[in-house]
């Protein structure tokens, strides 16, 4: 096997710089956060070791945590089950019907490169009440649907969905780009062969594109899931978790606890829960896709 005869030490030496940076920036902070999750600490002064009390409080006595977790999963669900499929559909349509797709794909990608702060401010204005020049409400009013108007970002029941919509809109182009690239990598000969066998159009998509794009789809799903769990900036810009915690997700709850309420230890333990949720979900998604891939190959 040792075609190149590179010693293990050489390999190690080449990996080392990256490894050190990675460990330093990822693992060390996680370990530190694991430890501070066990403390009663305001982030500044003296800390007391309180064992798992923080976790007990999270799961039994935190009226914000569970709704925040539920909202986080709602966001992830929408992202994985709505955004990614739409992105896949668009990617397929673009590949099939558009001769010079680059312009379209770049346009879809545009919101991704905009700063979230800008996106948030933009949509805040769109969502504003009609009296403040909110676009949606003005349109609704002008077509006679006044009863449909809402104060989108401040009604507790609607606000989170209003935010989810923005987040789906912003990252749609990202997933389109990923999947579009994935589809382009499928060799054309396969489609040609399938055509001869009578599989064309959506049939070809069903039996060729889908199975062959699965690994890419997996990346998309994992990215969208982790992205949803980490969603924070958009919520901070648009509502700050309010009104009265109605749009709080795990990440914003963690931030508020650590830095606003000054319970740094408690915030760390929420962060740790978030890490664990992330890990479990990633493993589950991986398992699911390994199965799917086996079935189709």
């Amino acid at each position: 096997m040792n075609v190149l005869k590179v010693s293990r030490w050489t390999i190690a030496a080449f990996i080392l710089p990256c490894l050190i940076v990675y460990v330093g920036l990822v693992f060390v902070p996680i370990l530190v956060s694991l430890y501070s999750g066990l403390l009663d600490w305001n982030g500044i002064g003296k800390s007391t070791f309180i064992g798992i009390d923080n976790y007990v409080k999270i799961f039994t006595n935190d009226s914000v945590f569970w709704p925040a977790l539920r909202r986080t999963f709602t966001l992830a669900g929408f992202s994985m089950l709505v955004q990614v499929p739409i992105a896949l559909l668009v990617a397929i349509l673009i590949t099939r019907f558009v001769r010079r797709p680059n312009f379209l794909v770049s346009s879809y990608f545009l919101p991704v490169i905009l700063s979230v702060a800008i996106i948030g401010q933009l949509w805040k204005t769109i969502y504003n009440p009609a009296s403040m020049g909110g676009m949606i409400n003005q349109i609704l009013t002008s077509v006679g649907l006044e009863s449909w108007t809402h104060s989108w970002l401040t009604e507790p029941k609607i606000a989170i969905y209003a935010i989810i919509l923005v987040s789906l809109w912003q990252y749609l182009g990202y997933h389109i780009l990923i999947q579009f690239t994935g589809i382009q990598n499928i060799p054309g000969e396969i489609y040609e062969a399938a055509k001869i066998d009578g599989a064309d159009g959506f049939k070809a998509d069903r039996y060729i594109t889908l199975p062959m794009v699965l690994p890419i789809l997996k990346i998309s799903i994992v990215l969208s899931f982790i992205g949803s769990l980490q969603s924070f900036d958009l919520i901070m810009v648009m509502t700050g978790g309010g009104p009265a915690h109605a749009t709080e997700v795990l990440a914003s709850h963690m931030y508020n606890m650590s830095f606003i309420t000054m319970e740094y230890g408690y915030g760390s333990s929420i962060a740790n829960v978030l890490i664990v949720v992330c890990l479990i979900a990633t493993v589950l998604i991986n398992l699911l896709f390994t199965r799917l891939e086996k079935r189709y190959t």
Binding site: M132, T154, G240, G242, A244, M262
Partner: protein
Amino acid sequence: MTKRKMKWFGMTMTGLLALSLSACGGGGTTATNNASGDAGGTKTEPTKTEASEPAAKDITITFQNIYPDASDPKNQMMKKIVDQYQSENPNVTIELDSLNTDQQKLKLKTQAASKEVPDITVVNPAAQMQPFVDADLFAPLNDMVEENGLKDTFQSGILDYYTFDNNLYALPDGNNIGVVYYNKKLMAEGGVEVPKTFEEMIEAIKTLKSKGIQPMVIGEKDSWTGSFLFMNILLRTNGGPGFLQDVLDGKKTFEDPAYVEAISAFQQLVDAGAFQDGATSFDYNAGENLFKTGTAAMYYMGSWATGGIETAEVSKDGNVGVFQFPTVGGKGNPDEFMLAPGSAFAISKDSENLDETKKFLNYFMQNFPKEAFEAKGAVGIAQNVEGDFKAAGYSDMAMNVLDLFKKVKGGDLAFDNTINPATTQVHLSGTQSLFVEKKDPAAVAKELQAAYEENK
């Protein structure tokens, strides 16, 4: 890297200077008054220097502040004083770290966690600075404030909010009160008078609303804004100041009738349609802008907003007036105000140049009132100002606010300045929820009491 080069350059120059001095043969013997001396800097020209002592050390003082906006008079004022100080003390470099309020709060917390507090930083009074004091991060300023009579420039009693165990830890830049600004033109259009009682206020709001005029505005995304107004109502329903202190002392709970009544009163405001649609998505600046652009009749805020409103479009032709928050249910005294001792400058205990930093801050605060007065920013500062405001061209509204200051007969501090952060957050989100949901006042109060007991 340039910093290091500068250092080398400085040292070389210092060396040359020393050589040239010894060549001159100790010509000058007049000692400079400057304790630190002023030789050594690259700015000093060798021929003019008469210092006989060895070159003074170049030092850098980091000055964290919350005046980042270059168009703000406070920013210009700060730069002016800093430049003056640097030209008088060439060996001292003041490095400004200007951040907006929220960023500064966050940065300081991070710095405090790693014990890297800048030489001078900004903290908020009372309960908000308590954790920092407990962590022993700040140097006591007891001696420093006595020097050059600095202490006497401050209004009496204001320094108490920054004093813990008889140690003064910070010097405030402001001292404000909660007032209601009103748009005279809109009030006249709506045909309403300045309300004398809360009940009149509710009626005025309904009248304005029915005539299509936005009665009040607020930036409730930053939930302290609603809390500040709420606390003023509580100050009335409680029949006087000290409610939160009574809670802290265990004499009252948040389920006390005064607190519940204040919640109901606040709900009346919301129900009457006082605030703009979607108030909870407007941040402080956005809310205030609605008033500044003349879209709303009334605006409750701390008097620190005076400067901004004064220079805004809405204030043309003396269009904006101020009034005291009225009595609620016949209770309370309008001469009692929400008191807002401002953010304050503290000095890091571990500062490498503690003495120099103290000396600079002393100088800074000495010059603060004079410069603020000139920059038309002297309404609501924590120090006594000499000078005729009227003659200096301050507006009628500013004069009104200054008159209100003279009426102050005590009052309360904001919630977050009195109660610990964890309970404060429950209070803030509870108040915020009143804007969007119909809630039972007793239930809101109960929830807060539970949170308070847990975080005591």
